[in-house]
């Protein structure tokens, strides 16, 4: 593998890492209520 | 607080857009501009050709015609050598199109004589009866050359005063034909693709009258536009009294005569149907 491929592979893993982090954070128990709150609040706004 | 969060969101969204943008839109400039892809014989447009190209854009011909031949048999057999990156370096904008309501035009240059294009542009149905291409007879009005020099300068194309003078007194149609005749001719693909006919040529349908109806159908669909429905000629010569050996006629039709405007039909008709139309040309006089 040349340097460029290693580099690209690294970036790919990095991006994937970010994705996993977003999923974990969104679905963490801490975020459970907060994450779903907007869908209830939007029902009684107008 | 709420403001800051929104700003963070906007920045995050922009960064997310930029990843794919950089990889698939910015970086490819480097690959496409690779000097290895340059083709030395590719020339910029002359003033007349450029004006023709601008009319092509104005009329939206790209809504029906593409200008890229893909490396697929159905494309290369029908239109010619597949398109190369280096052939488009002077195309601002590119005119590849996205829809083939009409045939691809990337290699149209040299396929037909100028006279064919003139008649066809003015009235496509007179050449190809069931075509749905609009009539462009109005293009016969004089070409507006007031911006020509400025256009050449803007694009940085080389030109001489003689080139500019050559646009004077021309019609828009002349410019269009000049443009069409340039398309795809910067690489010498026609010579390379020239069909080599090897071995002895013998007509498998010699004196076989049963193929006459089919031969006539092939003639009407492919040849009548130039040689006339009655064979008396038009863009091409009269074939009424053609009296050459079958093998010669076959070679003319199959391989074409590029210099004088007789297209090659080998790839579209194949051998068998070419022989049938040859048989039609020869036998019809006697029947």
């Amino acid at each position: 593998m040349d340097l460029a491929s290693v580099y690209y592979l690294g970036v790919t893993f990095l991006l994937f890492g970010i994705f996993v982090a977003i999923v974990v954070r969104t679905y963490s128990r801490k975020n459970r209520e907060r994450g779903e709150d907007p869908k209830y609040r939007m029902m009684h706004e107008d | 607080m709420t403001e800051r969060k929104m700003v963070v969101f906007l920045i995050a969204a922009t960064c997310v857009f930029l990843v794919g943008t950089i990889v698939t839109m910015v970086v490819p400039f480097k690959s496409i501009n690779d000097p290895k892809l340059k083709i030395a014989t590719v020339k910029p447009y002359t003033p007349l050709q450029l004006e023709g190209r601008d009319i092509y854009i104005r009329e939206g011909c790209n809504n029906c015609h593409t200008q890229t031949v893909r490396p697929l048999l159905a494309d290369t057999e029908r239109y010619g050598e597949y398109s190369k990156t280096g052939e488009f370096v002077y195309d601002q904008p590119f005119l590849w199109g996205s829809r083939r309501t009409g045939p691809d035009l990337a290699r149209i240059g040299g396929k037909y004589p100028d006279a064919w294009h003139e008649k066809h542009m003015k009235d496509p149905q007179s050449m190809v009866p069931r075509s749905n291409m609009p009539k462009y007879a109005f293009l016969t009005h004089p070409l507006d050359t007031s911006l020509t020099e400025k256009k050449m300068k803007t694009l940085g194309f080389p030109y001489t005063q003689a080139d500019l003078a050559a646009c004077q007194g021309k019609t828009e149609l002349d410019a269009m034909v000049a443009y069409l005749q340039k398309l795809g001719t910067d690489i010498p693909w026609r010579e390379a693709a020239k069909t080599q006919l090897v071995g002895e040529l013998k007509n498998p349908f010699l004196d076989n009258v049963t193929v006459l109806p089919e031969g006539k159908k092939i003639y009407d669909a492919n040849c009548a536009q130039c040689h006339g429905a009655d064979l008396k000629g038009g863009v091409g010569p009269s074939l009424v009294d053609i009296d050459k050996p079958d093998a010669d006629i076959f070679t003319t039709v199959y391989a074409g005569r590029q210099a004088t405007g007789m297209p090659a039909f080998g790839d579209t008709l194949g051998k068998e149907r070419t022989w049938k139309v040859v048989t039609f040309l020869k036998l019809r006089q006697r029947h």
Partner: protein, 467 residues
Amino acid sequence: MDQQQGYADDVVKGFILWSMVWGLVTVLIGVLISLQLVYPQLNLPPFLTYGRLRPVHTNAGIFGWGIGSFMAFFFYITQRLTKTRLWSPGLARVQLWLFNVIIALAAVTLLAGMNRSKEYAELEWPVALLVVVLWVIFSVNIIMTIAKRKEEQMYISLWYILATLVGVAVLYLVNNVSIPVSLFKSYSAYAGANDANVQWWYGHNAVAMVLTTPPLALFYYYLPKSTGVPIYSHRMGVIAFWSLIFMYLWTGAHHLLWTPVPDWVQTLAMGFSVMLIAPSWASVFNGYFSMEGQWNQMRDNYLVKFLIFAITFYGLQTLQGPSQAVRTFSAFIHYTDWVPGHVHMGTLGWVSLVIFAGIYYTIPKLYGREIYSVGLANLHFWLAVTGQIIFSITMWVAGVQQASMLHASNPDGSLHYSFMETLIELYPYWTWRSIAGIIYLASLLVFLYNIVKTISAGKAQPAEQKA
């Protein structure tokens, strides 16, 4: 706050009504160009030829009908989701005028042949500059409203709205860079394969940022509002959101398969297109799961019918799209009628059905009246869906038939059919497409009548239901 008085809604009405006008223009021209393909004598040179009319059709559709109504809904939705009055109603008025001036100018300049030729970025540079001004005015207004919001968290629709504002800005600016020669003529700043690649990075993301994210913003808002039940999962919406806007930007080159742009760009586009199924279908499932226990509303509530059919067409669209992005299949159907079949399932099925639902929901609220006739709304629905399905199916069949003929070869390797032999087979299908278009046109007229009657003669809404 007295919300009925508090929100700036006049401009919402204005945008809705004008977008309906441009929608009618789109469909009328659509029918005309579809007929021109069958009867070339309907071309009236120089101004009314197919080559000049087709860009008017696409621009009126995407920008007049699409963007016009999205501007209305973004104003409407944003105010309600933020519980905040629009930052500047005055600016929004200016925007409405500017919008209509631009669309009219677009139609006139395109018919006059002033055309940059790049699809969906045809407008010459002076008009394109006006578009930039328009977008800045619009974005500032929405962004400032969201910045001053009284709801701390942003509902998913607002995410899609913000993404649209940023996305369109980036795309439009880059792809429109040109070198002017005169007031009416410019050349693209990029050449050849570079220009092609920039164009389709733009072109596909116009599909993303105009025909996908705004209707999704609407869908996520109007589905819960119509059913009275919250969306199934807000968090799934969030994950789908980030994945969608990330992946879309990689896929432009699926419009350029087998062309001279570098192979690796094409391959990436192919891969990401297939991956796009996941975030697209996340929204589809979010819609379907929200209907749990509510499916009876498909029968009883015409708004739900529009929305669920819309998201279903979106689901089909996002399965068909990725298949077209695969090299082998592209080799077959690219450049054929298959693609207009795909396009119009998206525009007529997905985008327009969502907009219809939005208008049916919003107009009665804004005017304090009930919809004039639910029966007519149902008739509109069935005519529209029938027209669209006939349109798409005939085009898919036509595309496959022409493709098979173009690729057929004789035993000696020569081609079996000339181009013209394949073209004449298409005429019957194109006739059917025109019929489909006329059915769709009829549906649109029913719709317009219903809306106009609602505004002029609808029953006043009972006080307690008043929004």
